[in-house]
């Protein structure tokens, strides 16, 4: 089962919906947030586009 655990983005208007959203000021912060979430959630960070990361858990 693939589950989206979180979304990290620098573009607030491009995301929304049920998964927890994390807003980053710039790309560096986005990488950092995605790194932390990856380790915390035991999940993999995937890049959706220039501005957004998905943290995905495959259980």
């Amino acid at each position: 089962m693939v589950k989206i655990m979180a979304v990290v983005t620098t573009e607030k208007e491009s995301v929304g919906g049920g998964a927890p959203l994390f807003y980053a000021r710039d790309k560096e912060e986005m990488q950092e947030l995605a790194h932390l979430l990856e380790k915390l959630l035991n999940a993999a960070a995937h890049q959706l586009n220039e501005h957004s990361f998905l943290i995905v858990y495959r259980g």
Binding site: E38, A44, A45
Partner: protein, 307 residues
């Protein structure tokens, strides 16, 4: 009691020589399992003890039958039950251990190993039975010769087919293009974090397996076979990952258009030649082998014949 006593009691000679060859057969076949299975002494003792029982059962069956004691054959049925339990035991142990592996064996590989353990006990019974039969019919010298032939046959056939028989294995560069990771021209996965991309670019090692025929295509596509390759190579070369790092998992992906299998490893030891040898010598799982080509051809021939 000495060797001469045995010679004047042909039944006992048959049982003794048969049992001895049964156990030896099991011993010969147990040695090749070390790669697939941890070689701890107690596991070895269990299988040698079961091999002794298998050998004794096979050997005793012959004098029992020759003395027209046909109910003795039911003993063999009991033995079959016993050895089915061996398969269960191996399956349970390996399944329990699989949760602790960084790269899992996968259920197909475990099933394959368990089946081999059961099957080899039957081979022991068969070798013992044959040896004992020849001793009873033609004397101990002929029996020993028959036993040696059995041993040679088992030794020759104990190794099954490997990946080298179904696929051409080639190195392929690992390319990290933005978030996309490719091995050769097979797309593997999307990696988000820069640090993971760096690790994959630095530690990653790629192979492309080209199936040799259409049957091999089906075999390589089998998920169990793919997991077995990943597990075996990771065992032999180490693995650059830890629990809770799903982004750094070794992967096998199919190039859908070509049927080629792309493999991405993150080995501890970056030795391409060793890695190549490891991939080539991964055993072919019985459960993954299919022969669709032959079946389709036969169906076609029948259709033509029937008009």
């Amino acid at each position: 009691m000495n060797a001469a006593w045995l010679l004047v009691h042909p039944d006992m000679a048959g049982v003794t020589i048969g049992t001895a060859f049964g156990v030896t057969t099991r011993y010969v076949m147990l040695r090749s399992d070390y790669r697939q299975y941890p070689a701890y002494p107690h596991g070895w003792i269990i299988h040698m003890a079961l091999g002794l029982i298998a050998g004794a059962l096979g050997a005793v069956a012959v004098p029992a039958l020759l003395n027209k004691n046909y109910t003795a054959i039911t003993f063999l049925a009991m033995a079959a039950q016993q050895f089915r339990d061996v398969r269960n035991m191996e399956r349970n142990t390996l399944n329990a251990l699989d949760d602790q592996e960084l790269v899992r064996r996968g259920s197909a590989y475990i099933e394959g190993i368990a089946v081999v353990f059961e099957g080899r006990n039957y081979l022991s019974i068969f070798a013992a039975f044959l040896t004992s039969l020849v001793v009873s019919l033609a004397g101990w010298a002929a029996g020993v010769a028959a036993g040696l032939v059995c041993l040679a046959a088992v030794y020759r056939f104990r190794k099954g087919k490997t990946i080298a028989d179904v696929a051409r294995v080639e190195f392929a560069p690992v390319r990290v293009e933005g978030p996309n990771v490719l091995v050769g021209d097979v797309y593997m996965m999307n990696v988000g974090l820069d640090e993971n991309r760096d690790i994959i670019a630095k530690q990653g090692m790629g192979f492309v397996l080209t199936p040799k025929n259409d049957d091999a295509k089906v075999t390589l596509a089998n998920l169990g076979q793919r997991q077995a390759i990943l597990h075996d190579v990771s065992t032999r070369l180490g693995v650059y990952r830890d629990d809770g790092e799903p982004a750094l998992l070794p992967l096998a992906k199919l190039g859908l258009a070509t049927g080629k299998l792309g493999l991405l490893f993150l080995p501890r030891e970056l030795d391409p030649q060793k890695a190549l040898r490891a991939v080539v010598s991964v055993p072919l799982l019985e459960s993954a082998v299919r022969k669709p080509v032959e079946a389709n051809r036969r169906a076609q021939e029948e259709a033509v014949r029937d008009g």
